[in-house]
């Protein structure tokens, strides 16, 4: 269970399948085009591999696979959201592959409702809340919860391996 949102904040929205997701922009470093992804051996299926960003290897997670959605081929608008995740006082850089990235929006706490308890498809502990924007719901993700410490470690290792490699 993540913390309640009390202050207005800016979010970046991206799309996976038909669902629109949002992440706090403070956790996002930059957005990258999908360029060459180097696959890491023995990594889980959702681990897409690593990309080279300014001579730094950043692991890329396929968010579709991570969230249990079926894999789709990459498109021109497929983007990598480079995120900074605080874990145990350490900052990890992780890339998440999204179908497309939309925009940076500002949401008031009043616009955000707590996640529904009975949401079947999504584990509610990963969701900070649900925001309405027009007709559509935007699912605000707790990105730190998404990536567990194990995975981060794995990512770190993978990234360092990749860098070493």
């Amino acid at each position: 269970m993540s913390t309640q949102i009390t202050a207005p904040a800016q979010y970046i929205t991206f799309q996976l399948g038909n669902e629109l997701f949002a992440i706090d922009v403070a956790q996002v470093r930059e957005i990258l085009e999908l360029s060459l992804v180097t696959r890491v051996p023995t990594s889980p299926d959702y681990m897409r591999g690593v990309v080279n960003v300014r001579s730094k290897a950043i692991p890329v997670v396929d968010l579709r696979l991570k969230f249990g959605l079926p894999a789709v081929p990459d498109t021109l608008v497929s983007r990598i959201v480079v995120m900074e995740i605080e874990l145990d006082g350490e900052t990890c850089i992780v890339g998440g592959l999204a179908d497309s990235v939309h925009e940076v929006i500002e949401l008031e706490p009043s616009q955000i409702s707590p996640p529904p308890r009975l949401a079947s498809r999504w584990r509610t502990e990963l969701i900070r809340g649900m925001a309405r924007r027009g007709e559509q719901f935007i699912i605000i993700l707790d990105i730190a919860a998404v990536f567990s410490s194990d995975e981060i470690a794995l990512l770190k290792n993978g990234a360092s391996d990749a860098v070493i490699a």
């Binding site: 800016q10 403070a26 930059e30 085009e33 940076v104």
Partner: protein, 596 residues
């Protein structure tokens, strides 16, 4: 004689001539018998008598000579030989005398024969005496006996023989004289008989000929008159022979012909009620006349009804001709309309031809244009592809811009309060990039569709060219067809004009026909008048039978029954009645009509 039959007459004449001939023949035969008797006497009696006596005479002389030789002979054999000779001669003479005995013709002859035989006996006696002396060679006594006895008896014997010959000669002369007389008599008798026979034959022939030729000549003259057609002649019958019979037959023939002629006269006068009296079953003329009369009755009836039919038919014809004329006028009007329509059609065909030519040109141009269009479309496709390529670049740029704007927005957000202005700019830039992207996508989609459409257009244009060519060819054919149609329509126009003329001719012909029909009607009436000249016993059946044919059968049955009396009542109409035969026929036909 006059009433004798010709055969009897000829028989009598011939009998007379034959009687004369027979008398003549008998007379000649009698004379010939006399001649025959004379000649038979000469040949069978007188001549053989002379002959036999001459033989006896010769042998007597021989015997005399032999006796003398016997006297002269002095040997026995000589004497035997002479005696033998003597006996033979004597035997022959004895035979000859017997022969002559059968040839004796009368008492005088017999007397002379007896005398000769007696003298022979005395001679033979003297001879035997001498022979006896001679055998005893008493020649002197013998010779003395010869002189004294033999020679005188010998002379007497010869004289007797000579008398017989002379008498026979006399008999022969008598017979010859009788023959001559007979010949003379018969010659004169035959001449007289023949002359008489000729004269009598001529007279009889003349009479018979006259009795045949004179009445025949008058009959011939009468027949000639009849042959010329003159039936006023009547022959007088004044004999009962064949000529008389012929004359009587001729008279009855002339009488019969007069009767026939009277009937023919009556027929000529139009009276067909006459009855022909048949002279016999074989009266060909009578039969022919009867048939002629029957046929005339029938024909007159038929002609009468035909005239009626012609009259009514010609009236109908007149009406029909009138209708025909009206029809022809209507036809003429229709033909004129058709002609004007044809002219309009011709004009429209001409216009069609012009249009077709123009269409042909246009089609040619269209073909060219289509080719050009095809090329243009190809160029368009190329241009579109280029545009698509360029648009891809623009899209790329837009995407990059969008990404940059996003990153800028992220940076601005991270900058906090200081980055707010920048965040607005970044948002605007991102919106522009988004719009650019949308527009580029639209353009890309449009160009994609455009290329496809252009391709399709190109294909269609490529297909269009042969179609247009085909169209051009078809249009040319249409133009040619239009030409043909033009000539055809011209011909039709001409034909219509000719038709118009023909229709006008028809119209005038129909009018003529109408007047002709009227003429025909009047002539039929004239014919009815003419045919009424013939008087038939009463209304004849053929007319009654024919009349209903004009009308429908149903009405006919009643009309046919009423027709006859009404026709009888009309004085001007043909007097026709149903005689017995024809009534039956009419009834039979009525029966037929009642089937309806």
């Amino acid at each position: 004689m006059k009433n004798w039959k010709i055969g009897n007459r000829i028989t009598a004449g011939f009998a007379a001539v034959l009687l004369i001939a027979a008398t003549l023949g008998l007379y000649a035969y009698a004379q010939l018998r006399v001649i025959q008797r004379g000649t038979t006497h000469i040949t069978e009696d007188t001549m053989p008598s002379i002959d036999v006596i001459s033989g006896i005479d010769a042998r007597a002389r021989e015997v005399y000579a032999t006796v003398l030789n016997h006297v002269l002979a002095d040997t026995k054999p000589e004497m035997d030989a002479l005696e033998k000779n003597l006996e033979e001669h004597s035997a022959l003479n004895t035979e000859d005398f017997k022969k002559y005995d059968s040839l004796v013709s009368d008492s005088r002859d017999r007397e002379l024969l007896d005398k000769a035989q007696n003298s022979r006996k005395s001679y033979d006696a003297a001879r035997e005496d001498i022979l006896t002396l001679s055998r005893e060679l008493k020649n002197k006594e013998a010779i003395a006996l010869i002189h004294s006895k033999l020679t005188p008896s010998y002379r007497q014997y010869l004289q007797a023989l000579d008398d017989i010959v002379t008498y026979n000669q006399k008999l022969g002369e008598q017979a010859s004289t009788a023959i001559n007389t007979s010949i003379r008599n018969s010659v004169s008798g035959i001449i007289v008989g023949v002359v008489a026979a000729i004269l009598i034959g001529l007279i009889i022939a003349w009479f018979i000929t006259r009795s045949i030729t004179v009445p025949l000549a008058s009959a011939t003259a009468a027949v000639g008159e009849v042959a010329k057609g003159n039936l006023s002649t009547t022959l007088t019958v004044n004999s009962r022979d064949e000529i008389g019979q012929i004359t009587a037959s001729l008279n009855s023939m002339i009488e019969g012909l007069r009767g026939t002629s009277r009937v023919a006269d009556a027929i000529a006068g139009g009276d067909l009620t006459q009855d022909v009296k048949l002279l016999s079953e074989q009266d060909t003329l009578g039969h022919s006349l009867t048939k002629m009369l029957e046929n005339l009755r029938k024909i007159v009836g038929e002609v009468s009804s035909a005239a009626n039919n012609v009259a009514s038919g010609s009236e109908q014809m007149s009406a029909t001709a009138q209708q025909l004329s009206e029809g022809a006028s209507e036809q003429a009007a229709a033909a004129e309309e058709s002609t004007s329509s044809m002219e309009e059609m011709s004009a429209s065909i001409q216009q069609n031809a012009d249009n077709a030519k123009q269409t042909d040109k246009l089609a040619g141009r269209a073909s060219e244009d289509a080719k050009t269009s095809g090329a243009s479309v190809s160029q368009t496709v190329a241009a579109m592809k280029e545009i698509a390529d360029k648009i891809a670049i623009i899209e790329e740029i837009a995407r990059k811009t969008d990404l940059l704007a996003l990153n800028a927005a992220v940076e601005a957000a991270r900058a906090g309060e200081h980055g707010k202005g920048f965040a607005v700019v970044a948002s605007e830039v991102r919106k522009l990039a988004e719009r650019s992207q949308t527009a580029a996508a639209d353009i890309s989609r449009l160009t994609g569709g455009g290329v496809r459409l252009a391709h399709e257009a190109g294909d269609l244009l490529t297909k269009l060219v042969p179609d247009i060519r085909k169209t051009a060819e078809l249009v040319q054919e249409i133009a040619a067809a239009c030409g043909e149609q033009t000539t055809g329509s011209n011909q039709v126009s001409k034909a219509m004009q000719q038709l118009d003329q023909v229709i006008q001719q028809n119209s005038s012909a129909a009018e003529e026909m109408a007047s002709t029909a009227e003429e025909l009607a009047s002539q039929a009436q004239q014919l009815q008048g003419s045919i009424s000249f013939f008087k038939v016993s009463s209304a004849s059946a053929p007319a009654a039978a024919v009349t209903p044919r004009k009308n429908p059968p149903v009405k006919a049955s009643s009309k046919a029954i009423h027709a006859a009396p009404s026709r009888n009542a009309k004085p001007g109409a043909v007097a026709i009645a149903l005689d017995d035969n024809h009534t039956a026929r009419g009834d039979a036909r009525d029966g037929e009509f009642q089937h309806y």
